[in-house]
């Protein structure tokens, strides 16, 4: 069953086209990995998928999108903010709702965040924040999971465990990631993007690590690229 179709559409921001003439379709029940360098168009594609699926899909954004001053509980609660009246949400800030608290407590335990429910997110480590962002996506309780690099700031071992949780809870998942081994072992289909074009779209079992590495330009250029990325991250980290 087709979940959604792109038939020769241009995707981008405003007048700036990032993905020209995109033709692609996604099936319900599929587990899809999106690979490609930063700037290849993964985020643009995911944002458009999110726009089309609306609230049928849970969303885990790049960079977490958490509110530093609020507690873990409130950050996770934000996943269901649209299901309650404004007043209920207001009171929940002062005094957590009992059933929400219990659900979120179970969720966070599953993700290894036990005992941190009251802690402001600003006091958490990068890996813990990542798991809060995933917990928030889980709390949305959807069939479909959309994640823009939801495993970016955790170690490989944790990434594996988190990915298994994500897939156990969602029949369909479309995830942008950088871990090629995980893409091969835990997804049905891999889509590779490069400079705004789909250069690879195949079942994961037909692919090899070498094919995936070819998505990235040759080794020397790749080295320069990762350095450039590291610099970008520095800049983001030092920005106020």
């Amino acid at each position: 069953m087709a979940l959604l179709n792109f038939d020769n559409v241009d995707l981008g921001h405003g007048t700036h086209v990032v993905l020209p003439g995109l033709t692609l379709s996604f099936q319900a029940g599929e587990r899809v990995a999106l690979l490609g360098q930063s700037g290849a168009g993964k985020s643009t594609l995911l944002a458009e998928i999110r726009r089309r699926l609306g609230n049928t899909a849970a969303w885990c954004p790049q960079g977490h999108g958490l509110v530093p001053l609020l507690s873990v509980y409130h950050n996770v609660y934000m996943g269901q903010l649209e299901r309650h009246a404004a007043l209920v949400n207001l009171f929940n800030l002062a005094r957590p709702r009992r059933e929400a608290w219990q659900t979120i407590e179970t969720l966070t335990q599953e993700l290894g965040l036990e005992g941190l429910l009251r802690r402001p997110v600003e006091q958490l480590s990068g890996g813990q924040r990542q798991r809060v962002a995933i917990a928030r996506a889980f709390y949305q309780q959807r069939e479909i999971f959309l994640g823009d690099e939801p495993l970016a700031s955790v170690d490989p071992h944790q990434a594996l465990r988190l990915l298994e949780r994500i897939q156990a809870r969602h029949a369909t998942s479309i995830v942008a990631l950088h871990q090629h081994r995980l893409a091969l072992s835990h997804f049905d289909r891999i889509i590779g993007l490069r400079d705004g074009r789909v250069v690879l779209d195949a079942p994961a079992r037909e692919l090899t690590l070498a094919r995936l590495d070819a998505l990235y330009p040759d080794a020397a250029a790749m080295k320069g690229e990762t350095q450039g990325e590291a610099k970008d991250e520095d800049r983001v980290a030092s920005a106020p």
Binding site: H64, G65, V67, L69, E82, A86, N89
Partner: protein, 498 residues
């Protein structure tokens, strides 16, 4: 081989700023001959000596019931800020959507707290209502503007991460407000410190806050008492972080209610008459346009007053710039020994905590009524405020070459990095200085404030109100001008620098 470029030639941003600042200082020097800078007092040094004596040997026992004045000063500042914030917050939410709201806010904050007090005294007398409205009304305008600027800088990521269909209030409460809460709170705290100074100043128009006792002690030459009151005020400001702690605020707010007073009997008819008739020129109310001509002719000669106001503002701004450049190293960790820094920092704190009208008043007693005391007061107070912020900024920087001499560190390492920010602060401050110049008229300097004050004294409310409007328009103009020349490339991330 190329010749080295001439003096200040080139189009780097640093040079542009340097040319702009030199132009400001040059303009000030050119116009200086037009300013009345005479020293009229007979024995300025003797007067200064007696004041210093009083400051060094304060006479705490001579104070009559200072606790009442202290409590009232704090209560007025606390509730004035609180009401201002309550009124300003909803305005901040509308600020970027409505030209009307922006205009209204610009207008109410263009008029100094003391002038608002003079206006309200006519209706509410020397009462708590006068004191609170005098603070809360201009502060509502200031809060609206600064809160709106802070809210505008809210990071978008958490909002973008929300599911579809979240209502506006929930979105604001969860994804926007918590991210800027710290900044809003710290600006409100800073404004409270300003309110403490303003609350003291309200004593100058007769409300029994600390300033009332300060003024009479100074005027009557009881410098020991004046010194003691100043020390009390500095102690209050220095210990603000403890007694004004977040957790104590609810208790303070409730306690302050008992000290606020007296509450006036408001006569509705009188109030209505004041607003609908007294404030407006009689010919205008009768639709008599010819009569307006003679009404306008009856005004005091405004051009010299406006000229003096603008000149004093220019002198104050240029003076603050020069003083800030000279003073900031005194409080910075890059210069001097630790004990010298403690001294420098203390001096800056004292200069910045003393209300500028108070400083002007002290200089006025020393030097006599000319523009000189006002200039000194404006330049010292605002120069110290900026020097303090710049020193804090400098302390956050690391120098690359550690073994440079102090002059090299100042001129090559630090100043080039600090200067855009310093100049931006000066531009922000120009509006404040402008507001204060008009105010110094109350001490007898022939600015607009002088005529406003005397119009109120002669109960010519229509004239006073008209002059207030002129002041407000001038102020809004200066604000627009300084915004135009402000270095744009520096984001002032610290809202407390406004």
């Amino acid at each position: 081989m190329n010749a080295a470029p001439g003096l200040l030639r080139g189009n780097s941003p640093g040079l542009t700023l340097a040319r702009r600042s030199l132009a400001l200082i040059l303009l000030c020097l050119l116009l200086l001959p037009f300013a009345d800078l005479r020293i009229i007092a007979v024995d300025p040094w003797g007067e200064l000596w007696r004041m210093l004596h009083g400051f060094v040997w304060p006479d705490f026992l001579g104070l009559e019931n200072p606790l009442r004045a202290i409590a009232l000063t704090i209560s007025v500042a606390l509730w004035g800020t609180f009401i201002g914030a309550i009124l300003g917050f909803p305005l901040a939410l509308l600020f970027h959507h409505s030209r009307l709201v922006r205009g209204f806010c610009a207008f109410v904050r263009a008029i100094h707290e003391l002038f608002w007090a003079l206006l309200f005294i006519q209706v509410f007398g020397l009462s708590a209502v006068t004191a609170l409205s005098a603070l809360a009304i201009p502060y509502a305008g200031i809060f609206a503007k600064v809160y709106a600027e802070i809210l505008e800088l809210t990071p978008r990521a958490p909002t973008d991460a929300l599911p579809d269909g979240v209502d506006r209030l929930s979105r604001f409460l969860y994804a926007e407000l918590p991210q800027v809460w710290e900044r809003l709170a710290s600006y409100t705290r800073y404004r409270f410190e300003c309110a403490m100074r303003a609350s003291v100043l309200l004593g100058f128009v007769g409300l029994p806050t600390l300033g009332f006792y300060l003024e009479s002690a100074f005027r009557e030459g009881r410098f020991g008492e004046a010194g003691a009151l100043l020390w009390v005020f500095y102690a209050l400001i220095a210990t603000l972080q403890w007694w004004g702690h977040r957790r104590l605020l609810p208790i303070l707010l409730i306690g302050a209610l008992f000290w606020l007073g007296p509450w006036p009997e408001v006569d509705g008819d009188l109030l209505w008459r004041f607003v609908s008739q007294d404030l407006w020129p009689a010919p205008l109310l009768h639709g008599d346009l010819a009569g307006m001509g003679s009404w306008l002719a009856g005004l005091p000669d405004l051009l010299p007053a406006i000229g003096n106001t603008l000149l004093l503002a220019l002198m104050g701004t240029a003076g603050s710039l020069v003083l800030a450049l000279l003073l900031w190293p005194l409080a910075s960790r890059h210069f001097g020994r630790p004990w010298q820094r403690v001294g420098g920092r203390l001096m800056l704190v004292v200069l910045r905590s003393t209300p500028e009208l108070m400083l002007a008043f002290i200089f006025l007693l020393m030097l006599g009524p000319s523009m000189l005391p006002a200039w000194l007061a404006l330049a010292l107070h605002n120069g110290a405020v900026i020097a303090f912020l710049v020193a804090r900024h400098a302390d956050g920087l690391k120098t690359g070459m550690t073994d440079l001499p102090a002059s090299g560190r100042y001129a090559y390492e630090l100043l080039p990095r600090l200067y855009p920010n310093l100049l931006a602060l000066i531009c922000y401050r120009a509006e404040v200085i402008m507001r204060e110049t008009a105010l110094l008229g109350m001490l007898g300097v022939a600015t607009l404030g002088f005529y406003i004050d005397s119009s109120f004294q002669y109960l010519m409310f229509d004239q006073a109100f008209f002059l207030l409007l002129v002041t407000a328009v001038l102020n809004i103009g200066i604000d627009a001008l300084s915004r135009r020349f402000r270095p744009r490339e520096v984001p002032l991330d610290d809202p407390c620098s406004r």
